[in-house]
Symmetry: C2
Subunit: 269 residues, 2 copies
Amino acid sequence: MPRYALLVEYDGTPFVGWQRQANGLSVQQALEDAVQRLTGQQALVQGAGRTDAGVHASGQVAHVDLPREWPAHKLRAGLNFHLKTMLSRQAHNGQPVVVLAAAAVAEDFHARFSAIRRAYVYRILNRPAPPALQASRVWHVLQPLDAGIMHEAAQALVGRHDFTTFRASQCQADSPVKTLDAISVRRAGNAGEEIYIHVSARSFLHNQVRSIAGSLKLVGQGKWTAGDLRAALEACDRAACGPVAPPQGLYLVAVEYPVDPFAAEPPVV
Amino acid sequence: MPRYALLVEYDGTPFVGWQRQANGLSVQQALEDAVQRLTGQQALVQGAGRTDAGVHASGQVAHVDLPREWPAHKLRAGLNFHLKTMLSRQAHNGQPVVVLAAAAVAEDFHARFSAIRRAYVYRILNRPAPPALQASRVWHVLQPLDAGIMHEAAQALVGRHDFTTFRASQCQADSPVKTLDAISVRRAGNAGEEIYIHVSARSFLHNQVRSIAGSLKLVGQGKWTAGDLRAALEACDRAACGPVAPPQGLYLVAVEYPVDPFAAEPPVV
């Protein structure tokens, strides 16, 4: 059966997360239902990152095997048509899951296991007033944060470490040892009101980015020093972690593979 | 009575527009209701720009006279408390109007008549797939647009012109002659999928920015040449305008005054 890779954007707000669950609609389920409506057959849609409830994606990648071959743009448009029809009742406005691009891939391509790098962004709205335009899209932190100090402290996390401190208790990874390729913290957005935390690694532990963001917030407030963050990492103890940042600030923005599956099918016009 | 300037952000989606109307809730009404709950007295809230239904603002400015003096941060926090309480039923999530900053101003300060410059941004999401994360925040245009050609053509609009072509029939301005200070069109956002049109002028006609954006879209598609845009301007005829762009892509981002009323009360932490 021909295999296709899908580049997917979603608003995590109305979903129980990426992964199919009994307690509500997941992004995976929405995509699988759309595939079934389009092709008439059930199929498993496998994603690169299993994002939690409320977490967004602008560049999730998934793969699916279809009963017959599809021109990539027709597959994208067909899935979007069914997603829109299915989800218009769920969504406040528009369509909370869209397929940005589809592409035929080799049968050994696996969205999750072939990935060599994942990139996330964590967005903090750092101002006294709550968000009117970015509700459900950012973590609102009232206390003034020093992004420069957060950036410097965060560099201690780069490299290969035991990230037990920044790992959810329910994490299913075999090992808490991961290699963080890069982390940056910088002000951005309207009048510098936002703080963007960019992270990239081959793979992440469950809640790793939100655990790091929550701990970096303490550094930005001056409650923790850079040394405190380093000590938390070295403690290898979940109890040493700062309060985990909420899901609505987190975005899966990119997944990289040895060969870009969408290179021939650019998502941008 | 002491006069206060308010810096206001709003999601235009749930409102009938800035201005008070019989047919639904306006941003002005929401602010006036919040002022009444806070101070116990009715007051007129006057805005710098009368945005239409669905149009957003990240930097609207308004003024209001209050029965007594308020510390600026308490006024801001008090209005936000009441806005949140009042609007939580209207909004899908969060609070669609927030006061970013409040500041005491001279009694001759007028949000609308003292303004010397207004800046708007019009956002186009230019890709095949509809928006999942930016629904109600952008105009989705599927056809590939050439932002460079749009930018060049738009320069013909800069300066003092009769903008009758780009003016709504119901516009109440005395004269169709306005001076456009600057306009730029550039790609931005995730993978360059967005096109931002920035415009600034002392004041604008009703629907002027959306009329310009709709006409520039035709230029970006190649349906109009730069010469066609110039001819449309010179025609001074509403019928020569391209289809008016929808409200959800438009943002009032800044209003300038001879002296910045919020200079002593920076909205950013």
